[in-house]
């Protein structure tokens, strides 16, 4: 039974890491109703910029600040060059724009900083910690704490600040929001900058685990089932979805995997997500779209 709980806890903590990626998607979706395909590229760009600065002797927090400034510039650029010309276009047009953006950002990151793999140490030991006879990863506990803090901060941002309320208004109805004086460019820049911050934090945590390399941009594949299960428009849903995906894929790999020759944890979450789509298309916490017909 101990083994079962170890797998379960390990899975839940892995799920928190998936949630971190998913939160970045939720932010953009909330502001524009668009699935931002470039979120993985943002994670790669942020982590690669940070680690390249640190390797050049820049102090940790200064590198963090410079990277954040770079993400802000990127947000301004995206808003000015991509989103503004496409304002009020269909969601599929914006989605395709983010698809192209992903390739541009990935290519730019490698052209700027090189294709080399970088190690990243955050100073958190990843040795097992024994809790009640079960081994738990210290690093995963730190990641869970970071995710909890992030959710708290983002909740305050959305619910208690003027920009948060503007953001929600834009998400509900872009045209109506503009009609009451909300400045769309400012909201989009703000939300892309916050998504950049989330990408940086995600990139640091995933980079410490994987090494900072191109594969960071592929972690978004783990976020898709998380979003389908948790809902595209809820930060809390991203956390819940991440926990469900993390725990279920690990348990499935251990207990179902041997029956089908193993290696199922990549596709199992997608099966689960498909089942959710059938019974709850908006996900656990997503907003149901109600349209007048």
């Amino acid at each position: 039974m101990d083994f079962f709980f170890e797998v379960l806890i390990g899975g839940l903590l892995s799920g928190v890491m998936y949630s971190l990626v998913a939160i970045g998607f939720v932010l953009i979706y909330k502001a524009s109703g668009v699935f931002n395909f470039a979120q993985g590229a943002l994670v790669l760009f942020a982590a690669l910029t940070f680690v390249s600065l640190v390797e050049r002797g820049v102090a940790f927090w200064l590198a963090f600040g410079i990277t954040m400034a770079a993400m802000l510039l990127l947000a301004l650029g995206v808003e000015r060059l991509v989103l503004r010309p496409l304002a009020n276009r269909s969601h599929i047009t914006l989605f395709m724009a983010t698809l192209g953006l992903a390739y541009i950002i990935e290519g730019a990151a490698q052209a700027l900083w090189g294709a080399q793999v970088h190690g990243l140490e955050l100073g958190i030991e990843d040795v097992p910690l024994e809790v009640g006879g079960l081994f738990v990863s210290q690093f995963d506990l730190f990641a869970a704490g970071t995710a909890a803090t992030l959710v708290l901060v983002l909740s305050l941002l959305f619910n208690k600040t003027r920009i948060g309320l503007s953001l929600r208004a834009v998400a509900d109805d872009t045209l109506a929001a503009q009609a009451v004086g909300i400045r769309l460019p400012r909201v989009w820049t703000a939300v892309w900058a916050v998504a950049g911050l989330v990408a940086l934090i995600t990139g640091l945590l995933w980079g410490a685990r994987l090494g900072v390399q191109f594969s960071l941009s592929l972690v978004v594949l783990k976020a898709l089932p998380v979003l389908i299960i948790g809902g595209f428009s809820s930060v809390g849903g991203a956390i819940a979805g991440g926990l469900i995906v993390g725990a279920s894929e690990k348990l499935a790999e251990i207990y179902v995997g041997p029956l089908v020759d193993g290696g199922i944890e990549n596709w199992f979450p997608y099966i689960l997500a498909t089942l959710f789509l059938l019974v709850r298309p908006a996900g656990l916490f997503g907003e149901r779209a109600i349209e007048r017909v």
Binding site: F3, E6, V7, G10, G11, S14, G107, Q110, A111, G114, A115, Q116, V117, H118, G119, L120, E121, D126, V127, P128, F135, S137, F139, W206, R209, L210, G211, V212, Q213, F214, S215, L218, V219, K222, E249, K250, E253, I254, G257, D261, G262, G263, I264, E265, N266, W267
Partner: protein
């Protein structure tokens, strides 16, 4: 112009001119078509390998070429994508401005599989150094494919032999537990069958655990490993799977010095990102890292110091991937040189260079002349044997770099040969190929 600028301009050229970039070239030269990958998920391996390969070709040119024949090359970006690799093959196979193509070297199992039949039809050698189809070792069925130095079966056989040495003899393997953690791809699965045959022979308990591509989550596999309590774990990884395996092993408390990485888990890029978790990690190599070998010193003097080095990051000079590229360059150039002895000192066709590969003989004396003694293992290829070596050395990561910890450990080629021949014969039957009679080849 700095190396980074060279890289950026190459990238720009690749974008503008449809993915092809090249250096100076003319008829009268020997051409190497390079299906390289400098962007995308495996760019770290691609830039190191092709950087070493190109620098060796430059080094040969700086010293007069191959019997006066200068070498030329051009690159086509594959991003490690099979379709692009095939497109690049078709684009480059006819040579460059009259310079005939010698051989292709895609450094990709997928691209190699996809261009295998084309290579035979076009009579252009397909070099898969340290990888590729194991049964392509049998040159009677695969006349144009060369898994030089080490095929996948030899690789695992040598690892089992090494584990046998560590436990006091192969007879002591009986009752031991070995887990193989493999990449969920045809490459990862290539050795499953032969590992089971080795387990049956030496009576050790084998568990095969698959890690789905790309391998950035391995919690459940390593919890399983902790439950199994194996004596050794063979890591058959690729890319990001390797550092994640080492980190996750640490997370579940599995000793890192009991993990043995295969030939694609043996670079600095595999160990360094895992930080302290990688210290003590053991892996195989056919081409030790380091810059002390005379050939590396020559490249530094004639190419790198002259500002012509191909690496964007000069710190990667002498690393595992770079040195593999240099070794690959040595073997390709030696094949051309040997073929020239038969066909004349002039640019040769792919068919003629194939003869050179098939008659490749590298003993310690020749390796010393090349400045590569200890960097390349002695090789002796033939019509029947397109691998030629089958030996590996073991190295251990000290936290900063690899240190050699063994002499050459030979695979049990006598045990493997019948398995390879049976597989090759099966392939020949499926494809309607009439195997060559190697006794009649010269």
């Amino acid at each position: 112009m700095s190396n980074r600028n060279i890289f950026r301009k190459s990238l720009l050229a690749a974008l503008v001119f449809g993915g092809v970039s090249s250096g100076a070239h003319a008829a009268g030269e020997q051409y190497f078509p390079l299906q390289s990958y400098r962007i995308g998920p495996y760019a770290a391996g691609g830039t190191g390998f092709f950087g070493g390969f190109i620098d060796y070709l430059q080094y040969v040119n700086a010293n007069g070429g191959v019997n006066g024949v200068k070498l030329t090359w051009s690159e086509c970006e594959t991003e490690y994508v099979v379709e692009k690799g095939v497109e690049c093959y078709e684009r480059l196979k006819k040579g460059l401005n009259g310079a005939p193509a010698a051989a292709t070297n895609p450094l990709s199992v997928g691209i190699a599989y996809a261009t295998l039949d084309r290579s035979t039809a076009d009579k252009l050698p397909l070099i898969t150094i340290n990888h590729g189809r194991t049964d392509s070792t049998d040159g009677s069925v695969f006349p144009y494919a060369f898994p030089l130095q080490l095929n996948p079966y030899s690789e695992v056989s040598a690892i089992v032999n090494y584990i046998g040495q560590q436990v006091g003899g192969l007879d002591k393997l009986s009752g031991r537990k070995i887990v193989t953690l493999y990449h969920g791809s045809p490459y990862g699965k290539e050795t499953s069958e032969v590992l089971q045959k080795l387990a049956d022979k030496y009576k050790f308990e084998l568990t095969l655990l698959e890690v789905p591509h790309p391998g950035n989550e391995q919690q459940s596999q390593w919890l399983n490993i902790r439950k199994i309590k194996p004596d050794y774990v063979i890591l058959r990884g690729w890319g990001v799977m390797n550092p994640v395996a080492l980190k996750t092993a640490q997370k579940v408390g599995f000793p890192v010095d009991r993990i043995i990485g295969n030939i694609w888990s043996n670079s600095e890029e595999d160990a360094a990102p895992a930080g302290a978790a990688a210290k003590g990690f053991v892996s195989i190599t056919t081409h030790p890292s380091g810059t002390a070998f005379p050939v590396l010193q020559g490249i530094r003097k004639d190419v790198v110091d002259a500002g012509k080095g191909n690496l964007a990051d000069p710190k990667r000079f002498g690393t595992v991937y770079y040195n593999l590229g240099v070794v690959n360059g040595i073997l390709n150039v030696e094949a051309v040189r040997i073929a020239q002895a038969k066909f004349g000192n002039k640019p040769l066709s792919g068919e003629q260079v194939r003869w050179g590969f098939e008659n490749l003989r590298l003993d310690d004396k020749r390796l010393k002349e090349l400045g590569a003694l200890g960097l390349v293992q002695p090789l002796r290829l033939s019509c029947a044997d397109h691998e030629g070596g089958g030996a590996v050395r073991f190295q251990q990561w000290d936290g900063q770099q690899w240190k050699l910890i063994s002499e050459w450990v030979q695979a049990d080629r006598g045990f493997l040969r019948p398995i390879i021949e049976a597989s090759a014969q099966k392939y020949a039957k499926e494809k309607g190929i009439s195997p060559r009679d190697c006794a009649k080849e010269s």
